[in-house]
Amino acid sequence: MTGRPGGRPLVPAYLSTGGVARPSRPQLERLSVLTGTGEPAPGDLPAAQLALLEELDGGSLTVVEAAALLRLPVSAVRVLAGGLIDRNLVLARAPIPPAERFDPDLLERVADGLRALKHN
């Protein structure tokens, strides 16, 4: 909600979920990937859920990306996504684990070794 230039948002975040912050799917994480199932949205979908669904039209998004696009806190998007998953409109996948990174200490030791070799 901070993305908008100049000033506080008019519509508070709690309105998007009707004041609910406890998601129906507690396993959703910040980096869980949401994908639309492509099923037509029912007419009675709350506005915020519809907005999330439409963001997913262009492809999959992580929860935190959707939150940034919708200018809502992650906690609200988790509730919205939970509702959509319950209605079988969205699929969620567990976060993709980050690739194994090299230990920075090890890299430093290698660099030091290379420098030592060069000086010799």
């Binding site: 506080r8 008019l10 979920t17 912050a21 519809l50 988790r78 996948r93």
Partner: protein, 479 residues
């Protein structure tokens, strides 16, 4: 010798005569005196009576007429009694007593205005401070909402934010009633955002249904945003307060000839003729507001609307009953307070209801195209154009709606047929089948011989290759 008695007799006679004359005079004067005394006594009685009546009249003035005249200033229905003795009414005394009342009224009105102005100034200062503090609290709460997503904490933060919005609303209308500025400068915003923002400030916001029939991008100029949000919040508060908790309050946003109209209907009891007249007088904002007129506890909502409608050239009408049985409140936003925001660059808030116009359009236009209809009413039908062109900003050169996509969705332009998204179980099943197939082929070729194994291996690799688009897709989906 005769002379002496004659003299005596003459003297006696004269004496007698004079005595008689004197006696008569004396008697006459006695009688006159008695008459005068009687007259004096009568006059004194009359004077006493008049004095008594005068004292009684002044006493009555002090005890009855002055308090009634003072009360009448605050409560116009109080009747001020006339003089105790009606025959005084046309006398100079009656006139003088009426002058007393007139002077008293004048002085009281002046004092009342002065005291009220002082009270308003004091309250203005206090509420301004409170409002600023609540905005700081709001910033802190929203910062925390962004930072933490533990559900329990987030729930508490949402509740606190809502409580804070309600307190903010009360402080703000108290300030506005006391003649202060709305206290917050906003930038140009979507009208539907202002309405939804007003809705969010109420305890019963769940009961409000907003139907947005505006063309996408209909916005308010910056200085009208907060007033419209406040007015909508107050009208909704009235509607929610005066209708049963299991009924909805309906809000419709529509274009009218020279602006936009926000109609709020409730299904409550409605108002009596007197209440309606009073409400209409208050929201018109034509009379100065006195805090003492607002009752205890003060009902500030309508008075605040009155202040805002006067200052910002908005108009609110409460005169017609709602078809749902309750009150219909109509806020008219004139076209000079409207502007236009590109809904693609700055979409309305996620919780703001979509325009029904866009939905109709999307429903008909979506049919077979692969281009996803994007979230925020980019497209408009021609009807919408016709209606909004008067007060809308410049449109695209050709006058035709342009379908553009947001920069995020830079999907490949080549028309890749989109696969339907697969469930994790399906993906797992497909990969599992692949693996078991591979394993089966390996074991099969392993039994037949080396050459076949090599061929089988190549075959396997090719099958992997065949499947690569699918796995790529998975990767692409994940981003």
């Amino acid at each position: 010798m005769i002379e002496l008695p004659d003299l005596v007799v003459g003297g006696l006679a004269a004496g007698t005569l004079s005595a008689l004359a004197l006696g008569g005079g004396l008697l006459r004067s006695r009688r006159q005196q008695a008459l005068q005394q009687a007259e004096i006594a009568a006059l004194r009685r009359q004077l006493d009576g008049t004095l008594q009546a005068f004292i009684a009249e002044v006493g009555y003035l002090a005890a009855q007429r002055v308090p009634a005249a003072a009360r009448q200033l605050a409560h116009p229905h109080v009747a001020v009694p006339g003089p105790r003795h009606p025959h005084f009414a046309d006398t100079p005394l009656g006139g003088a007593l009426d002058d007393v009342l007139t002077a008293l009224r004048l002085e009281l009105t002046g004092q009342r205005t002065r005291i009220d102005a002082a009270a308003q100034a004091g309250m203005r200062g206090a509420t301004r401070e409170i409002q600023a503090a609540l905005y700081r609290l709001q910033d802190a709460l929203r910062g925390l909402q962004q930072q933490y997503d533990d559900p329990e904490l987030a729930q508490t933060l949402f509740e606190l934010d809502h409580e804070n919005e309600q307190s903010l609303r009360r402080a703000q209308i108290a300030a506005v009633v006391c003649g202060a500025w709305v206290g917050l400068a906003r930038e140009e915003s979507h009208l539907v955002d202002a309405v939804t923002g007003g809705q969010a400030r109420l305890a019963g916001y769940h009961r409000v249904r907003v139907h947005n029939h505006l063309a996408a991008g209909t916005a308010l100029v910056s200085h009208a945003v907060e007033p419209v949000a406040i007015i909508v919040a107050e009208l909704l508060d009235n509607a929610l307060r005066h209708s049963a908790p299991d009924t909805d309050v309906t809000v419709n946003l529509e274009h009218v000839h020279h602006g936009v109209c926000v109609t709020i209907d409730d299904a409550g009891l409605g108002m009596t003729q007197d209440e309606r007249a009073r409400a209409q007088r208050l929201v018109a904002g034509s009379e100065p507001i006195l805090l003492t007129d607002l009752g205890d506890p003060p009902r500030m909502g309508l008075a605040a609307i009155g202040q805002l409608t006067r200052q910002f050239d908005l108009s609110v009408d409460l005169s017609s009953p709602s078809p749902y049985g309750g009150v219909r409140a109509v806020l008219l936003v004139d076209s000079h307070l409207l502007s236009r925001i590109d809904p693609e660059e700055r979409p309305p808030a996620a919780s703001a209801p979509r325009s029904t116009r866009r939905e109709q359009e999307a429903g008909t236009g979506e049919a077979g195209t692969s281009a996803p209809a994007h979230a925020y009413g980019i497209e408009q039908d021609d009807d919408a154009d016709g209606v909004v062109s008067e007060h809308d900003g410049p449109r695209d050169a050709g006058g035709l709606p342009q379908r553009r996509r947001r920069s995020r969705a830079t999907a490949p332009d080549t028309p890749v047929p989109r696969r339907p998204a697969r469930r994790p179980e399906e993906a797992a099943a497909a990969l599992g089948a692949l693996q078991s197939g591979t394993a089966a082929a390996r074991s099969g070729t392993g039994a037949t011989g080396g050459e076949a194994q090599a061929r089988g291996g190549r075959g396997n690799r090719r099958r992997h290759g065949d499947d690569r688009p699918m796995t790529d897709y998975e990767g692409g989906a994940a981003r």
